[in-house]
């Protein structure tokens, strides 16, 4: 893997993504919406097709050859994710449908059984709706308090405010993003975890964005929970991950009941399977698990050092180019930021911008980005967002900037 990271070549990378050859409205596809969902490399596509063509059956229940092979392939995904996050034990990796499902699992299980009335959950002002709404639902159901740590006008966590909200020792869980899907801001996770623990709070990090771009070591971070989703990591939709420290997962009750999550069942009572299966009721996303393993292997084969370096170049280039487009304002000025750049254009609304860019083959997202409270905090109704992936090129960013000049003229 070191060989590839030393010779990172974006053209070689791009050739592994079949979709990048597509035309949109007769133009070359310029896909700048990877933060919403990333495209899939050939390795992932092939792994999924191969599994369906050669070794598919249900997992964890067959005594036959096909089921055993499929179980091995599916469980290998757990090992791959353990490696990706450097978790201490493979049983700490719980498969879910996506990040949202992972957070809902945590809110239902940890939130209802471990958190007590009078305790609080602390989130930040730059969370995705997926890390707001489950806690609101928990608050409304159980009477826990929901606190929100503010951000600065630069779009960074206001750490003094964050710490002040921990001060009374009533926060049981900090649930906070590792990287904002709107601003690209990385949060200071080491400091967050240290500070939260010092105040007696556990920490869940929403790594939906961050895990794609930099090395995540849950043991070094000492975070208690970490969630991410497969489809942003060049893997398939329908599979996500809840990492949790073993002793915490052991203490948590199941979220959903059904097959696969039990040790024994009678009409009087049932007992639970050990973790992680306790949290994995029903037939899992088998093919998606196999696809996720392929994605993790593929990404680690390139290496996060190379990925981070490439994306840092892209981000720097984008910020420099967009700063020179009249009327464009980039939202957020965080020091530590990744390849997600939200912006507004004086002359035109984000939707109009997105429609015109789309006609040139450029895919960006426009709107509130599932972060309505953040938009209000920033005093904005909507932004356009260009987000970069491993396959993004500086030429594509140049084309974005050049096209924005024309968009601006169009609406003048």
């Amino acid at each position: 893997m070191n060989d590839m990271s030393r010779h990172f070549d974006v053209d070689t990378i791009r050739r592994q993504f079949p979709i990048l050859d597509q035309k949109v409205h007769g133009k070359d596809l310029v896909f700048l919406d990877s933060a919403a969902s990333a495209q899939k490399p050939r390795a992932v596509i092939d792994a999924m097709v191969h599994a369906m063509e050669t070794q598919y059956a249900n997992v964890h229940r067959g005594l036959h050859w096909m089921s055993e092979r499929t179980t091995d392939a599916y469980e290998a995904a757990r090992d791959a994710v353990q490696g990706l996050l450097n978790a201490a034990d493979r049983s700490e990796i719980v498969f879910t449908g996506n990040s949202t499902a992972a957070i809902n699992l945590l809110a239902h299980s940890y939130g209802r059984a471990i958190l007590r009335p009078g305790q609080a959950v602390l989130i930040s002002a730059m969370e995705h709706h997926a890390n707001i709404v489950p806690w609101q639902m928990l608050r409304d159901a159980t009477g826990i308090e929901l606190r929100v740590a503010d951000i600065t006008d630069a779009g960074e966590l206001d750490f003094a405010d964050f710490e002040a909200r921990l001060a009374d020792g009533r926060v049981g869980l900090v649930a906070i993003t590792h990287m904002s899907n709107v601003l690209g801001t990385y949060t200071p996770v080491e400091r967050i975890v240290r500070t939260a623990h010092a105040h007696g709070a556990r920490v869940m990090l929403d790594g939906s964005q961050a895990v794609v771009h930099r090395t995540v070591d849950v043991q070094a971070l000492d975070c208690d929970f970490y969630v991410f989703t497969g489809h942003k990591l060049y893997g398939p939709t329908g599979i996500g991950v809840l990492y949790g420290k073993r002793e915490l997962l052991d203490a948590m009750p199941p979220f959903m009941g059904g097959g696969d999550m039990i040790a024994s069942v009678s009409f009087e009572r049932s007992t639970w399977a050990p973790v992680p299966h306790k949290f994995e009721a029903g037939t899992p996303a088998i093919i998606e698990g196999i696809g996720l393993k392929a994605a993790v292997d593929w990404v680690r084969g390139i290496g996060f050092d190379a990925i981070a370096a490439h994306e840092a170049t892209l981000t720097e280039h984008a910020l420099a180019r967009l700063a020179n487009v009249e009327g464009v304002s980039v939202v957020g000025r965080a020091q530590d930021r990744g390849g997600v750049v939200s912006f507004t254009l004086d002359q035109a609304h984000a939707h109009d911008v997105a429609t015109l860019l789309d006609r040139q083959g450029i895919a960006v997202r426009a709107g509130q980005h599932c972060a309505e409270p953040l938009m209000r905090r920033l005093g904005l109704d909507s932004t356009a967002r260009a987000s970069f992936g491993i396959y993004t090129t500086t030429q594509e960013i140049d084309f974005l900037a050049d096209t924005l000049v024309r968009v601006s003229e169009f609406f003048k």
């Binding site: 609304h349 939707h351 109009d352 109704d381 609406f411």
Partner: protein, 149 residues
């Protein structure tokens, strides 16, 4: 560069989107309602003053949104002048058909709204064009909120 979006962004749309003539809150009004499109962040409020026979004497609106939603609101205020609730409902139904399909051969009274027919080629933008109408209908029905979802 953008010739192919001219069916959507016709000059009339750009003009009304940039400088809407009826974007104002009425000093005195009989009904008002807000429309909110939470997925994209568009917001609109419509004010209505009735004249004789419960027909619309005057309509004003405020909007924070894209050129399509603002132009749609502006053209709407002109198109509904003098109509009653039933007539507005029928016009909105026809307008909805037009922005979804591009045509409405049997529709009457859509001339003024015709520049918005290009929206049908942009399915994700249809709700931009209909949001002000949802707010207007809500106001006429004495509701306070509408949603285009």
């Amino acid at each position: 560069m953008f010739d192919d979006v001219r069916d959507l962004y016709q000059d009339v749309i750009l003009k009304h989107g940039r400088r809407p003539e009826h974007m104002r809150r009425l000093a005195s009004f009989d009904a008002t309602a807000k429309g909110d499109n939470p997925m994209c962040g568009d917001r609109v409020q419509v004010w209505v003053k009735y004249g004789a026979d419960d027909t619309i004497a005057e309509t004003g609106f405020e909007a924070r949104g894209c050129a399509i939603s603002i132009a749609a609101g502006d053209l709407m205020t002109e198109a509904v002048q003098g109509l009653n609730r039933g007539e507005v409902g029928r016009l909105f139904a026809d307008f909805g058909d037009m922005v979804r399909t591009g045509t409405c051969p049997d529709c009457m009274g859509l001339e003024r709204l015709k520049p918005l027919s290009g929206v049908h080629e942009y399915p994700s933008r249809v709700k931009c064009a209909t949001l002000p109408w949802h707010a207007l209908i809500a106001a006429l029905d004495d509701k306070q909120e509408a949603s285009s979802e």
